[in-house]
Symmetry: C2
Subunit: 486 residues, 2 copies
């Protein structure tokens, strides 16, 4: 049941809470096309901030953007057998265009390997052309049966990196490097801690040799795959005959990678930080880091508080802070507070006649740290610097809070299967357990508990005393992270 | 026949020259999908610079970005009759998805009015919701019979602005404002002069009340429509029943606009400035404004010139100049000069051992102004400031040169039809003539001469002594700009 703010509490129905946030914070809305959402300006601005940060990191690691066609010839998709099997069932097909039936139907790209590799085979001739380090910002379409805004939509926006290398080692290095870039972005920008590691064979990208992923834990204790980086080996090079001439004159297949994150990250952001009052945005990804709410009763006061609000705005913009003055008429300050809380703005500044008199403003944080005062009066003099520091603190605290939450929802060393089953059915969370390495066992646990192996975690995440037995009782070959997941 | 640089001279075959530039400057290449090009990194970087500038101007005029679905239900397209007639014949249709035939086929958007307006009808309730000022960066698909890279491709990238207003005046103001934004961008960034004005009924956007356009003249004296801004009146509001409640409680239809520019602008840039040696880029849109070419014979020299080149690079980057050091091994400096000339880099810096000795660098402009020296030695000390100023000069000179060229290819006051016909068949260019205002006459001239009325120009462009007769001999109602065009 929605609370006084029109939001269902998370504890009551997390899924309803999520849908209401998306709606009420005006992040996205439904469209007349099944499974396709509209990303509204407030949601799209978050995506633009994400894009800006990621794009900078891609360029800093030597990548260039390019753009490949939306359509793939249907025959190109089936050149790599596993890739075809993985994607063909969920594609959208163009059969008619320009008023006539096409000789060969076109597939709307579900991912771009099958159009990029035939083209790169022309671009790549010699070892001098390598490495090729490309990225594309684009829309892709996967015909999903059940969709949810941001988390799983028929059309979504993403970036897809595609690279070609002269050696297996370089390709593996690139795959790991980009996984690291994702992790840095998720932690430093999204304030969302992740566990990085290797996917099992059953969860591997269709056509990849190895898939690495960043796995996060949402506030309902369900896991979410936030980004993937694939070492494609020579699979696509072989399928599309992409060769380069070595210094010795040999013609050999290239090694390739691909890696991507999507608008799904906005869903991850919502479910990592939000609370019963609404969205909570880490400052670095907040469309507005600060919202100024002027408070007045009469025209004279109005003039004073707007003048003061304007001064603050100019100072903050000079300091590189994204700020908005909420000048809406006919709406009381309390309603504005609610509105911006629901939209997750990290800091609100109240400017009333008494504040103007005292040459100060009242700062209110979206999230009050334990033991701190909810409201903090700040002198106007030097306010931009103080707020800039506060925003940096909030960013750090957001990550620390999310990390503490994840750790409190993480269990290690479980070997008893019935205890594991109970855990997945009740609290959920991340469970570090053993795994015998058998696909059958993996499937059985999935069938029994609806949980999956999220990753075989990278070394730094592993337990000092990892379980010696798999949940099935056999000796463990890998420590794995299991969870029910989106 | 290609010249020593592998380029066909413009005077011999402009169209071949264009295709070769696109290929050799690595701006775009063909794809296995008919009519769809691949935008290569160097070309895409130009698009990113264009996007950055335009996006800033859109935001400065109060617009926000959003994202609407790639697909339209087929039935939505036919809600506005003229719009349907205009676009239906060139659409691509998805009939199957997720392995089954769709109940209602989906149209891949040729433009987004038919998906945006049904959605905005939900968002807009009251006069308080107006104006709605949206922009979308997206790909669109129009099934073209004859395609050319950038100028006309089946899929292209663009931005489309969509706005809703409370009154006809506001909509008209917005339409004109965005036309002005385009003009400013084209002149100040692309260094491409344009004539703004109104399209005739026959060239109007399908569904619009009035279409305004920016028209440019390419180096082969053919016109090119570079951007359009449409006052849609209440046509789409009526078709999709988009109403708002006025302060008096009435429910009335909104007034709307749309406006767009596309990757076609890259084609316009090529054909506005390029010469027989290749591309020429105005500094503001050059992926690299400066390329440093180190020159060396032995390892000792190599170390010296790279050290000097690196110092210059760091200084230039500090000054906000996009710079690249061409460190390719096994390629002589002359080949590098050719390469960067072909790619249109405004300034090249040669750094050889003697330059290092003299604490100087040699600057060479892509285009040498008349009477100026081609090569200019510059002291290392303070080189960034000097180059920054030179780049600003080059930007200004590019526009001045393009303007002078257009003016020299513009004829005013023509009333004699046979003279006009001869002009269109020989020199081409812009002809300011009279027009009786009749569609039949317009069509006849088109049939006879392959020229069209580009625009009824805005007042500032009109001739002091405009023709009093149309080409058909009847009294002129409008002065118009005619040309053969892309």
């Amino acid at each position: 049941m929605p609370n006084g703010r029109g939001l269902t509490p998370q504890s009551e129905d997390f899924s309803a809470w999520y849908n209401e946030i998306v709606q009420q914070a005006e992040l996205a809305s439904q469209s007349p096309v099944r499974g396709c959402m509209v990303i509204r300006p407030y949601g799209y601005r978050i995506w633009e901030l994400m894009q800006g940060a990621l794009d900078g990191m891609f360029k800093a690691t030597g990548h260039q953007n390019a753009y490949f066609p939306l359509f793939l010839p249907k025959s190109a998709l089936d050149r790599e057998a596993q890739h075809f099997e993985g994607f063909a069932p969920e594609t959208a097909i163009v059969t008619h265009a320009g008023g006539v039936q096409l000789e060969e139907p076109l597939v709307v790209r579900p991912t771009s390997e099958a159009i990029i590799w035939p083209i790169l085979s022309d671009w790549i001739q010699s070892y001098r052309d390598l490495p090729v380090l490309l990225n594309q910002w684009a829309n892709v379409v996967r015909w999903e049966k059940r969709t949810r805004p941001f988390l799983r939509t028929t059309e979504f926006l993403w970036q897809e990196g595609h690279t070609a290398h002269a050696s297996e080692e370089e390709a593996e290095e690139e795959t790991r490097r980009m996984l690291g870039v994702y992790r840095t972005f998720m932690e430093d920008w999204m304030a969302m801690p992740v566990i990085t590691g290797l996917k099992t064979d059953s969860e591997r990208f269709a056509g990849a040799l190895r898939t690495y992923a960043c796995e996060a834990l949402m506030k309902d204790n369900k896991g979410l795959q936030a980004g993937t980086s694939h070492n494609l080996g020579q699979n696509f090079a072989r399928a599309f005959d992409v060769r380069y001439q070595t210094e010795d004159g040999e013609h050999v297949l290239v090694w390739s990678t691909s890696w991507g994150v999507s608008t799904r990250l906005i869903g991850a952001l919502i479910m990592t930080h939000g609370d019963d009052a609404g969205l909570i945005l880490p400052p670095k990804l907040a469309p507005y880091e600060v919202v100024v709410v002027p408070i007045w009763r009469d025209d004279e006061q109005r003039e004073q508080v707007f003048e003061a609000g304007e001064r603050v705005r100019v100072e903050l913009e000079k300091a590189g802070v994204r700020v908005h003055v909420d000048a809406r008429e006919g709406m009381n300050p309390g309603a504005k507070y609610y509105d911006w809380e629901r939209r997750g703005v990290p800091l609100r500044l109240e400017v009333g006649p008494r504040d103007v008199q005292a040459e100060s403003v009242m700062a209110v944080r979206r999230v009050t740290p334990e033991g701190a005062d909810r409201k903090l009066p700040l002198p106007m003099e030097g306010v931009a610097g103080v707020l800039r520091d506060m925003l940096d603190e909030i960013q750090d605290e957001s990550l620390a809070a999310a990390l503490a939450r994840r750790e409190s929802a993480t269990v290690r060393g479980l070997e008893d299967y019935s205890e594991f089953q109970r855990l997945m059915e009740t609290e959920g969370g991340f469970a570090f357990t053993g795994w015998c390495g058998e696909g059958e066992c993996e499937q059985q646990v999935k069938d029994d508990t609806s949980s999956t192996i999220r990753v075989i975690p990278d070394e730094e995440y592993r337990s000092p005393n990892a379980p010696v037995r798999c949940l099935c009782g056999e000796p463990s070959r890998y420590e794995v992270v299991r969870a029910r997941a989106y």
